[in-house]
Amino acid sequence: MTMAEMAGALKAEILVEGEGCHKAIRYVVASDLMSDVLLVDEEDMLLLTSLASDQVLRTAQIIGAVGVIVVNGKPLPSSMVEVAMQLRMTLATSKLSKYDACIAVHGALGARV
């Protein structure tokens, strides 16, 4: 399942279509602690977070994530879109809570299996 397809499953709006938008997601992490995210040693990861800050994108870039979905309908600082464009990182926002987003991810991935 690609980041674009997952965004659809989470009713998320894609704000920046980066390089990983149509790449297959191999792992999903939901966290607001960036050091926890850095601990996960997986490739092509999707990051779900309710943290709306530029550092989320820089963290995603460091670990080579395919994209970031900010949940809880958090308003994003305008700088976040700029940073996503600079880093060519896919950025989307969903109104689902993190809990509901995780359920939707499970449902979407389950449906693919």
Partner: protein, 321 residues
Amino acid sequence: MSAAVPSPVLLEPKSVTGTGAGNDPLVLLELIQRLKVRDVMTTKLATVSRSATMREVQELMRQKKISGVPVEEDGRFFGLVSIDDIIRALGGGYIGDPCSKHMTTKLVVLEDDMPISFALRYFDRYHYGRFPVLNRDRRLVGILCQRDINRALLVELSTELNRLEAATGRHLAQDGVSNLYLLREFPICKYDFENAGKAANEIKHLLQERQIPPKIIRRIAVAAYELEINLCVHSDGGVLSWQISNGRAVIIARDAGPGIEDVEWACRDGTSTANEWIRSLGFGAGMGLANVKRVSDEFEVTSKKGSGTTVRAVVIVEGLA
């Protein structure tokens, strides 16, 4: 006025050994001719309409920490309110008037497709702090300060330096990673979250260009990123340096204070002195140094309360090229 970081305009590839190599003193002259005003100007503008009062403009200046506010409506440019205009309004007792009555309307403007060499001459000739920038349709599209030009030139020169390093690195890489030698230093400021992570990203890109295995790059990038964030969050500012030579990537974070009282405690998972604000940004969970240790082949912290801290992390690269 928020500072817009101009998109770097990449230089055309040149031969490192042939004529026109990047160390040519003409590089700067070439840059100021090639770069256009639109490449370097600030495009995110804090503007007001003609009906805004001088007091509202004053408040906008205070909030945005700017010294001039363009007056425009739907892109049509009417004038500029400068800090001098505000001072005169305060002295003259008309701070509550609409800005259209007191704004400066006799202005020198730049066009967005002018080369910055032209803009530099204007700064020299008129001694203004900023120039409004109009497009061909006479619409306001930006503001140009000398700071914008300085920043753009630094970005361009850095790009040129990276290009030279990459070219040099490619030559060195022919003999394998063990002979590759790079050394970089990045000053990190306290609480500068806007820039935190940029150094680690740059390191990652440089390593990717040299085709070092992704898993190794990730370990180096994670170590650099955590140390960069640590400098930003916990120190009074410092320097992140890294070098890769003889099959070893060495990352060093060095600061001048405030120092760590108990290094062993600080390296444990989940221990942190970060405040709530830092935690709200996604850091300060006490995993930083532990993460660096986890991804490093060698790890060392030397610190003393009241003086500086030096963290040294080594990732072995040799034999994996």
